[in-house]
């Protein structure tokens, strides 16, 4: 419950204060969001599995975001930023869908 509250508060804070981010980071923010989404779904599944650990969640969240941004940054420097973004999105997308399926099994027992 407190997590959902945190999500709502975070969205509201972001919309209200519109924190300015450096232009250089703007390209990587969407990728970072998708990576964060993967970490959140992973955490939700772990919570439903009963093995949730907030330290693991925080670490996986931060590392997911950083690694995804780093990969795309590296791709940009090598001239294959678009392809690497696609690759990262595909892999993270598969993971998100699989986690979502596991969560669905937990919630609906189906």
């Amino acid at each position: 419950m407190i997590a959902v509250l945190g999500l709502v508060v975070g969205v509201v804070l972001g919309l209200v204060f519109e924190p300015s981010i450096p232009d250089a980071w703007q390209t990587y923010l969407p990728i970072a969001v998708v990576a964060a989404l993967d970490a959140v779904f992973g955490a939700l599944r772990a919570y439903l599995d009963g093995i949730f650990d907030d330290k693991v969640f925080a670490v996986s969240f931060v590392s997911n975001v950083l690694i995804a941004a780093l990969i795309v940054y590296l791709g940009d420097q090598l001239g294959v930023g678009g392809q690497l973004s696609t690759g990262v999105i595909v892999v993270l997308g598969i993971r998100i869908f699989s986690n979502a399926a596991a969560i669905r099994r937990h919630v609906f027992h189906a």
């Binding site: 804070l13 969001v33 599944r45 969240f61 975001v65």
Partner: protein, 282 residues
């Protein structure tokens, strides 16, 4: 490495790739959760009560990222739309310009066609004028002519020069001969290669006959372009011809008329008017 070894190596690659995909598909749960849970169980520690605050902070961060990212995309959209509408406006402007240029091209094509027609007309006029000039040049003596005709060779009576016997051809005799040839139907006449024109005078100057200011001596060769069949006979029928027959018989003056198949009469090299102005018909 041999070909056989490579062949055996290939299936391994296939399984490796399949394994990678399977790995991605199956092990979606971060193994860290399981590892942390296992370690906690091994240490016999009771599971730590999940500290909701930390998780809430992380989720809050996630929410902010989500909001900011969405917001930025929203903010960028108007700029893209403006760019797009500008491009569309540019396209329309260029299309209008293209249409204008197209209509200009068609207008110019019409102009070009008109000018070409006019040029063709001018060329036709030019051609007719050239033809007229050429035929007029033949008539006036400004241009050389060729054609059949007669050659009349007249000469002073032998031993007549310097004697008062009357055996010398006078300028009036030559004038009479030329007039007789014109009367008989000659179309162009030359005397000793001097073409007769409307400006040509035949007169005595000193003791010689000058034609077109060239002094000539006997014999005088008068060439006339005309019908070689009728010209000699008609020449003799004219009063001038009769007079010349008289001269031939009475004074021994040479008078020899011969039809010629092809004569070439040169142009008068100096044929210009100083006072007379052509009247241009309107």
């Amino acid at each position: 490495m041999t070909a056989g070894a490579r062949a055996t190596a290939r299936p391994d690659h296939g399984t490796a790739y399949t394994g990678l995909l399977t790995e991605i598909m199956s092990s979606t749960l971060d193994a860290d959760y399981q590892a942390a849970a296992d370690r906690a169980r091994e240490l016999g520690r009771p599971r730590r009560p999940p500290q909701r605050t930390a998780a809430a902070l992380v989720v809050l961060l996630f929410g902010m990222m989500l909001a900011v990212s969405a917001l930025r995309t929203q903010q960028l959209r108007p700029a893209t739309a403006v760019e797009r509408s500008q491009l569309v406006a540019q396209i329309h402007a260029r299309e209008d310009r293209l249409d204008a240029l197209h209509s200009q091209v068609s207008a110019l094509e019409v102009d070009v066609a008109a000018v070409q027609t006019r040029a063709a007309d001018r060329r036709e006029i030019q051609r007719r004028t050239d033809a007229a000039v050429t035929s007029l040049a033949a008539v006036t003596g400004a241009g050389a002519v060729t054609g059949p005709g007669v050659r009349v060779v007249v000469s002073d009576a032998p031993g007549a020069v310097g004697s008062p016997s009357g055996g010398v051809i006078l300028d009036s005799d030559l004038q009479a001969l030329v007039n007789a040839l014109w009367t008989a139907g000659a179309e162009a006449i030359s005397i000793n290669g001097n073409r007769l024109t409307s400006l040509t005078a035949i007169r005595f100057a000193g003791r010689a006959i000058t034609v077109d200011y060239h002094s000539l001596r006997s014999p005088y060769v008068v060439e006339a372009v005309g019908d070689p069949q009728t010209l000699p006979a008609r020449l003799l029928e004219t009063p001038g011809g009769q007079a010349w027959l008289g001269l031939q018989q009475n004074f021994g003056i040479g008078f020899d008329t011969q039809p010629v198949d092809s004569l070439v009469l040169p142009a008068d090299p100096i044929l210009e008017l100083h006072h007379a102005q052509p009247v241009v018909p309107r």
